[in-house]
């Protein structure tokens, strides 16, 4: 049985956090994995912090990523890095807006998709599967922009591996 892959996406209401986790979960589903996605969205439209968890593998139990066990933390808003860093496991991968060249994106709205592109370089799913999920997840008119943003993220990603010296608060189940 392969290990479950844990991804946490964080940002602010209105940034497309939940759309991002939708696409991510859809890709994992299409690739044949068991997948679970969990989100807290009660107040999400009012500009507050929003996070979504996606877990995939042969068999997933809890829909929530345990603190300190995220393999990837994808953050759409720089101020949301520190509040969510405790979710990342030691040597987990942090992906922030710095991972993509903002000036080359078709629009600011595609940041979430571009960051998914950066994430995709670390994951086993094929590029066609990602593009198929992007096509299915939005109105057709958005596909070209999203495809471009995704490929920019996928090609030019620079992500930071959290070193052992990084701060993991006591909350992290850091082993």
């Amino acid at each position: 049985m392969t290990k479950v892959t844990n991804i946490v996406v964080a940002g602010l209401g209105g940034q497309g956090v939940l759309t991002g986790t939708d696409i991510l979960a859809e890709v994992a589903l299409r690739a044949g994995y068991d997948v679970k996605k969990s989100e807290i969205k009660g107040m999400s439209q009012r500009g507050g912090s929003v996070t979504g968890d996606v877990r995939f593998g042969d068999h997933v139990f809890s829909p929530m990523v345990p603190a300190g066990e995220a393999d990837f933390l994808l953050v759409l808003e720089p101020t949301q890095v520190e509040p969510h860093r405790y979710m990342l496991r030691p040597a987990g991968v942090l992906i922030t807006p710095d991972a993509v060249p903002a000036d080359q994106l078709p629009s600011r709205k595609t940041l979430n998709v571009a960051l998914l592109g950066a994430l995709s370089a670390h994951l086993p799913m094929a590029e066609e599967q990602w593009l198929a999920a992007l096509r299915a997840g939005f109105a057709e008119t958005f596909f070209e922009g999203n495809r471009k943003a995704f490929l920019i993220g996928r090609g030019g990603q620079k992500s930071k591996v959290q070193g052992p010296e990084s701060k993991v608060p006591a909350g992290g189940e850091a082993a």
Partner: protein, 542 residues
């Protein structure tokens, strides 16, 4: 795409899909996180779904549908069941002819609620069977089971879910749709459905008899299952906690309960005998552990500190390890706030400036309690702004009483503010009172649902409209004002000041469509006008 029919659904969507596949004829409810999406999705799938003014009415409508022999679905958040509890308790006595499934979506941890009450207690209090799914597949499958139980024992079934079941997406393999709605037909049963004391006394005995039979049936029900594991550690659990347990203690033998009232106590006793240590893992109240111990079965529960908030994998590990050390606090995220262009900002600025004592209510506008406004002094439950404001007016010294204002949203006002308004007219405080209805023409907090004040159905189609100002005037209130607050004009401030100084009853309706969906609301309204025009042109009905 391995299997053709593998869907990734939220628990809410899975409930809706099952309801559709099982031929549910009517779904009614009131929006409330985390239950709202059930009826929306049921409607999208072609089901007959409608928003009621509140949960009590929704339950009554679905009781009627089930009296008529139909399969009916009623949805609400946990606190909604407080409102609907009156019909629930007696519907357990009358029973139903068709099927009635009451979904209670609880919110442990209060992601978006005013309390974290555990509605499993309602199953016991009302005496109704209760099912608790753990993921979307079970939410789907258990709906069919709930309908079968409801029809076989002619009882409403409480379908208890929580935020993480409702809002987590997990893989579902649906079965084939099994049919069209049952044909409804009225069969008179006066002694069974008219709960005068003479008929209610035998009805109560019938209910207890049904529960005894259900308990026996539950001893061998496929809704409870054992996951084999080592005999050293046994865990009894239900709902989402099951998933956390499987991850936190993969070595444990687990009794997973899906049918949690009335409990299969013989099965539980047998399970406990077969393991060394047996721990009950449940979110919220110690419901299972108390019932199991009351039956004389020795089990371990969780420490009090784990009664608060949601469980997750790390917390389950801690419970199993008897870890009572303080839990790590999560770094604070950014709190939500009123939208930048929200008209309510102007209202809360005015309330703050005039040093009002504000009895608030439930909705987006509750965010007026946070900085920079801090302009709400109480928030108890849906509709409470009126009663609480009036109570304050009655007892406070005049210089304070004159500053008391009740603030409520349009949807909340229709939900349960109307009876408070009647109270205001019937028992007016000596110095009058001021009610502000914040009318953004939608139920914004839960994701922009319609309500009777918008004049549009759940599907956004034009229908009868409750006109708030007409309603207030019809009660004899002279000071009824409709105003669109604008920044910088001071108009709203002056109106509020006038009303406060009048010593009379006043209703101010601050009306502007929610900024988040203003364009959409405009479109609906244009459609509505066309429809009205067409109706006016048509000959009057006889």
């Amino acid at each position: 795409m391995n299997e053709p029919k593998r869907l990734l659904l939220s628990g809410d969507e899975a409930i809706a899909l099952a309801a559709r596949h099982a031929g549910v004829a009517l779904g009614a409810g009131y929006p409330g996180t985390p239950s709202t999406e059930i009826l929306e999705h049921f409607s999208e799938l072609g089901g007959h779904a409608q928003w009621s003014p509140n949960e009590k009415v929704a339950l009554e409508v679905t009781i009627g549908a089930a009296f008529g022999g139909a399969r009916a679905l009623c949805t609400m958040k946990h606190v909604g069941l407080n409102v609907a509890s009156d019909p629930l308790f007696t519907a357990a006595y009358t029973g139903v002819s068709g099927a009635l499934i009451v979904v209670s979506a609880d919110d442990p941890g209060m992601a978006s609620s005013q309390n974290e009450q555990d509605n499993r207690r309602y199953a016991v209090a009302a005496g109704v069977p209760m099912l608790e799914p753990s993921d979307s597949q079970e939410a789907y499958d258990f709906m069919f089971a709930a309908i079968e139980l409801s029809e076989r024992w002619k009882l409403p079934v409480l379908f208890r879910v929580t935020t993480r079941v409702c809002h987590s997406y997990t893989v579902v393999q649906p079965r084939l749709a099994n049919g069209a709605p049952r044909l409804s037909s009225f069969e008179r049963d006066i002694r069974g459905r008219v709960m005068i004391p003479a008929y209610a006394r035998p009805a109560h005995r019938r209910l207890r008899q049904k529960l005894t039979e259900l308990q026996e049936w539950n001893e061998t029900s496929p809704l409870n299952r054992i996951v084999e594991g080592g005999a050293e550690l046994g865990v009894i659990t239900s709902g989402i906690s099951f998933m956390h347990v499987r991850e936190a203690a993969p070595e444990a033998r687990v009794l997973k309960l899906g049918f949690t009232h009335p409990l299969p106590l013989k099965k539980i006793a047998q399970f406990v005998k077969g393991v060394g240590r047996c721990v009950v893992i449940e979110e919220g109240d110690p419901y299972l552990v108390e019932a199991i111990r009351a039956a004389g079965i020795p089990v371990e529960g969780k420490a009090d500190m784990y009664r608060f908030g949601e469980l997750d994998v790390p917390r389950v590990r801690r419970i199993l390890n008897h870890d009572l050390s303080p839990e790590p606090t999560k770094p604070p995220g950014k709190p939500p706030q009123l939208c930048d262009a929200c008209q309510y900002r102007i209202v809360f600025e005015a309330l703050r400036k005039q040093d009002c004592i504000v009895a608030g209510d439930i909705g987006c506008y509750t965010l007026g309690v946070l900085q920079p406004f801090e302009a709400i002094d109480s928030c108890v439950c849906m509709g409470a702004s009126l009663g609480v404001g009036l109570g304050l007016r009655h007892v406070l010294p005049p210089n304070q009483a004159r500053r008391v204002v009740s603030v409520i949203g349009d949807s909340t006002f229709v939900h349960s503010g109307i009876s408070g308004l009647v109270e205001m007219v019937y028992n007016p405080p000596p110095n009058g009172h001021v009610l502000i209805i914040l009318d953004n023409s939608t139920t914004a907090m839960t994701g922009h649902q319609e309500h009777p004040g918008t004049g549009r159905t759940l599907e956004h189609e034009p229908t009868g409209k409750v006109v708030l100002e007409d309603l207030a005037r019809s009660l004899g209130i002279r000071r009824v004002y409709v105003i669109e607050p604008h920044a910088g004009t001071g108009e709203f401030d002056r109106l509020l000041k006038d009303c406060l100084e009048s010593n009379e009853l006043a209703v101010i309706i601050a009306r502007r469509p929610c900024i988040l969906i203003a364009k959409q609301l405009k479109q609906y309204e244009d459609q509505r006008c066309e429809c009205d025009a067409a109706q006016t042109a048509a000959p009057a009905p006889a």
